[in-house]
């Protein structure tokens, strides 16, 4: 039986030969994710791999058989997306999908623990994401604001909750 992965709730077949990465598999199946450095440092291609933010360019396709992949399309926290738009935390948008995947994950984890992310924690999370437009401060402000709102509204309590 051909190995598969679950991408945003859709079953995607994995090639049985070759040395492609998870990013290659997604791209070959029409799932468009930015590709930046190709070495795991820029974070543009970050997806949730079994509920953990991971640069998809670093992951051999042979090591994800049966895995659950969530892209920004299904894992973005609406409160974060709204806050990023409000704070001007998106300019060219190249880094945004990866940033949104990581920060949505972090907000869900924080809210599940009944706490709010602080600015230093957000900056630490952004170490794996290069943004050449925003200077990061707007992203930090948006994330802290979104986390505070999620905590106040009681949403996002399930750390693994994503739309699929």
């Amino acid at each position: 039986m051909k190995p598969t992965i679950d991408v945003d709730g859709v079953e995607v077949g994995l090639p049985t030969e070759g040395a492609s990465s998870l990013w290659d598999v997604l791209d070959n199946n029409g799932i468009r994710i930015p590709m930046g450095c190709g070495t795991g440092h820029c974070g543009a291609c970050t997806v949730l791999l079994d509920d953990t933010p991971t640069p998809s360019c670093l992951v051999p396709k042979g090591s994800v058989r049966g895995a659950r992949i969530r892209t920004a399309a299904s894992s973005a926290l609406p409160a974060l997306v709204d806050a990023m738009a409000r704070e001007g935390a998106v300019q060219c948008g190249f880094c945004s999908p990866g940033v949104v995947v990581t920060l949505s994950w972090a907000i869900r984890l924080a809210v599940a623990r009944h706490r709010c992310l602080d600015a230093d924690e957000v900056r630490e999370l952004l170490i794996g994401h290069l943004c050449r437009c925003t200077g990061y401060q707007a992203i930090v402000t948006a994330t802290v604001s979104a986390c505070r709102n999620e905590l106040a509204s009681g949403d996002g309590g399930d750390a693994s909750a994503t739309r699929s």
Partner: protein
């Protein structure tokens, strides 16, 4: 074409690793970027260690910690090796969640950032071959000569330090290779290491005074370093390491 293979024991993995053209994958953070851009012939097989149960295990005993080859850099067991600072200086959080300690040391594809701390901890690498079975070698030897073709790295054992300090310089913190660095560790079996570009050298320091510690580092550095400015930088880093090892309190 490259095929994926999934051994479930060390001996099966060693047999696959010994096949011509096979490449072993642990975390994949060094291997996959190379696979994506390589221009030479592709590997015949990618040997995934995920189904070898021992590869994920770690053990702490008799003042040492042994990490299996799938133990990642962000694992708490690995953190024992990196002192109070932890491994936060290594790459990015997402990379630390996938990169493995053993893979970092044996892979010739990356800068081997963990080499200096492991040298200072007197670490030994464990491996095996299909033909001759298990072996253990000092990490210093592996950093110098690399792991022989066809050999499989199965784990690493390091002495647990009472304290470890790593002072280093690089063009871009976390993202660039350490250009000059000095790592010192206190505790049984521990010592120091000096990093000069791609060279990582162990230093026997004993329980000496600050000037003796600095002199030992300088002597080792001078075996590969001729530039007086860089030698002065190494000397300053060594002095800071000794000061931090002996005067700063653990937090």
């Amino acid at each position: 074409m490259t095929v994926d293979v999934y051994p479930s024991t060390w001996s099966e993995a060693a047999a696959h690793a010994g096949t011509a053209g096979a490449v072993v994958i642990a975390g994949g953070t060094g291997v996959q970027p190379w696979l994506s851009v390589r221009t030479d012939p592709p590997p015949t097989a990618l040997v995934h260690l995920a189904r070898v149960p021992e590869a994920r295990q770690w053990d702490r005993a008799d003042g040492t910690v042994t990490l299996g080859s799938l133990v990642t850099v962000d694992n708490l067991a690995a953190a024992i090796c990196f002192g109070t600072e932890g491994a936060g200086w290594f790459a990015t959080p997402a990379v630390r969640r996938r990169a493995t300690v053993v893979g970092n040391v044996v892979s010739a594809l990356g800068p081997r950032e963990l080499g200096a701390p492991l040298l200072a901890l007197g670490a030994r690498l464990h491996g095996r071959t299909d033909a001759s079975g298990p072996w253990t070698r000092p990490v210093a030897e592996i950093l110098c000569d690399g792991i022989p073709a066809g050999h499989l790295a199965t784990g690493v054992t390091a002495n647990i330090p009472e304290r470890l300090v790593y002072q280093r310089m690089s063009a871009r913190r976390r993202l660039s290779r350490v250009e000059l660095g000095v790592c010192g560790a206190q505790g049984p079996g521990c010592g120091a290491a000096v990093v000069i570009g791609a060279s990582m050298l162990p230093v026997e320091t004993g329980v000496g005074r600050g000037d003796e510690f600095v002199a030992a580092i300088r002597t080792q550095a001078m075996t590969v370093l001729r530039d007086p400015g860089r030698l002065a930088t190494v000397t300053e880093l060594a002095a800071r390491v000794h000061r931090d090892l002996h005067t700063r309190s653990e937090t």
